[in-house]
């Protein structure tokens, strides 16, 4: 167990990536939304109007910015520390578990960070001008149950998917991530083909809880895949 915690600490010691990057990115998206909303107000749009506000809730800036960052962080975490941890006599199993713990820390950190930003956003009537960054439809439009289901599961799934892609690169070279992407697209297409003919029934049945469960299952499957790839990956490719 000690080595697992050593690997965890190895990841955490990258302080800028662990603590500062998510903070700056989140604040950056808020700042961009504030500037855009301010520009709209200058153009004469009343962004505090309930109808306009509903439109602004379609913003997905925070979603895609963080998904991109988290997948990259997942790739980096599975690749960047792998060679060094193994040089110091770590087993691959210890490395994967330690990295998984690090992902849980990132999940908790981002959930708290984004929750605080949502509290601030709501308390300031959306940054004093109706700028919607976190109070958006994709994150539940201010509904805490939705928000606290989607954010942690989404963060964990993004990190784990990144780890899977990184591990596949270590194991199979450039072909690895290509195959992972292709498999992911095929999976999405199959899901669409399956759902579309019975969309109404699906929407009636679907709840945000199921989205959370699906994301957690995706995270677990991705981590299991990453473990499978890393258990056979050559350190010389890292």
């Amino acid at each position: 167990m000690k080595r697992v915690l050593d690997v965890f600490a190895l990841h955490v010691s990258r302080r800028s990536t662990t603590w500062l990057m998510p903070l700056w990115l989140s604040l950056g998206v808020v700042a961009v939304m504030v500037v855009i909303t301010f520009a709209m107000r200058l153009a004469g749009v009343d962004t505090l109007d309930p109808e306009i506000a509903d439109g602004l809730r379609n913003s997905q800036g925070i979603l895609w910015t963080l998904i991109g960052f988290l997948i990259a962080l997942g790739v980096q975490s599975s690749v960047a520390c792998f060679a060094f941890a193994l040089a110091l006599g770590t087993t691959r199993r210890q490395y994967v578990i330690g990295t998984g713990l690090y992902f849980l820390l990132q999940t908790a950190y981002l959930s708290v960070l984004l929750s605080l930003l949502l509290v601030l956003e709501k308390a300031t009537n959306h940054w004093f001008m109706g700028a919607h960054t976190l109070d958006v439809w994709a994150l539940g439009a201010g509904d805490w149950g939705h928000f606290l289901t989607v954010v942690p599961s989404g963060v964990l799934a993004s990190l784990a998917l990144g780890a899977l892609a990184g591990a596949s690169w270590l194991r199979f070279g450039n072909r690895g991530p290509l195959i992972i992407c292709a498999a992911f697209v095929l999976l999405l297409l199959a899901a669409i083909l399956l759902v579309m003919p019975r969309l109404d029934a699906f929407l009636a049945w679907f709840s945000v809880l199921w989205a959370g469960v699906a994301l957690v299952v995706l995270a677990a499957a991705s981590l299991a895949g990453a473990w499978s790839f890393l258990s056979r990956a050559s350190v010389r490719n890292a």
């Binding site: 080595r3 050593d6 600490a9 190895l10 010691s13 990258r14 302080r15 800028s16 990536t17 980096q76 960047a80 520390c81 060679a83 060094f84 193994l86 040089a87 110091l88 006599g89 770590t90 087993t91 691959r92 199993r93 210890q94 258990s231 056979r232 050559s234 350190v235 010389r236 890292a238």
Partner: protein, 292 residues
């Protein structure tokens, strides 16, 4: 003495390339072993297989009596610093000092500080931005200060100047005497390090060409020098590993036999034991001649 590492029939293939071909050897506990051979001979691959960084195609590896693969008890006692060792982003020397102390109960913080001081390692720059020589010094820092019972250095001198290399050998020897452990060093700078080695393994095209004590290996070949015609005559029935000539004069590195020294002396040739460096270099050349 007991074996720290035992390897039997070890083969590693990468597609059609055979990196190691049926290697069988053992490395004694608490010894410094030199792993010698030309580029591509299989030195790094052998160390990678011993430390479970790679999976063998066939054959067995036993480290401290156990299979090292996913073996926490065994791997926790190893440290393998590669010549192109990668370090995490953002890492600076102070991060390495913290990490080393965390991973190894035997980590010597004083020794680590001495290495930083000796090699004048910058503490305020990312490790990834250091020069080739400084990166080698970082590898030396990790390998030495870890005091891992099984330490592997893969060409640890790359980019180091002559003074820095001497400092490394000095640090290695002093620390080894104070804290004996099993150290394996792959190197091309045989002359510089041979006095530190107790045993030498010479790899050639993935096979073990020699596995012997340094003193034993030093007596394995003789260097004859003098007139070329006398050299040709004396070596006619001996295994010549390497020959050079300049006009009528020349030298030859010849596998030693009981009669060779006497025959050479009778022919007026000067005879000296071939150095380890000459012997290993001659093996490489000899193999090329044979294979071409």
């Amino acid at each position: 003495m007991t074996a720290a590492i035992e390897v039997h029939g070890l083969t590693k293939r990468y597609g059609s390339v055979i990196a190691l071909d049926g290697v069988t050897l053992s490395i004694e506990r608490d010894s410094i072993t030199g792993l010698l051979g030309r580029n591509g001979a299989g030195k790094t691959v052998l160390m990678s297989l011993i430390t479970a960084h790679e999976t063998p195609t066939s054959g067995t590896v036993r480290v401290l009596g156990e299979d090292p693969r996913e073996n926490e008890r065994v791997l926790g006692q190893t440290c393998f610093v590669r010549d192109n060792q990668r370090y995490p982003d953002e890492f600076r020397v102070p991060h390495l000092l913290d990490t080393g102390a965390r991973f190894y109960p035997s980590w010597d913080a004083d020794l680590a500080a001495r290495v930083v001081d000796t090699f004048e390692l910058p503490t305020d720059r990312d490790v990834r931005k250091l020069s080739r020589g400084q990166l080698s010094a970082v590898g030396i820092l990790v390998g030495l200060a870890s005091r891992a019972p099984l330490t592997f250095f893969d060409e640890p001198y790359l980019g180091l100047d002559a003074t820095a290399r001497m400092l490394f050998y000095d640090l290695l020897l002093r620390d080894y005497i104070a804290h004996p452990r099993t150290i394996v060093v792959s190197t091309h700078l045989i002359d510089e390090i041979e006095d530190l080695l107790s045993r030498v393994i010479v790899l050639d095209h993935g096979r073990v060409r020699e596995d012997a004590g340094v003193d034993e290996l030093r007596g394995r070949a003789l260097r004859l020098s003098g007139r070329m015609d006398a050299i040709e005559r004396v070596t006619a029935n001996h295994a010549v590993l390497h020959r050079t000539s300049l006009g009528v004069l020349g030298t030859a590195v010849v596998t030693a036999t009981t009669d060779l020294a006497d025959e050479a002396a009778a022919a007026g040739l000067t005879t000296e034991p071939a150095s380890l460096h000459e012997l290993v270099a001659a093996y490489g050349l000899h193999t090329k001649e044979v294979s071409s």
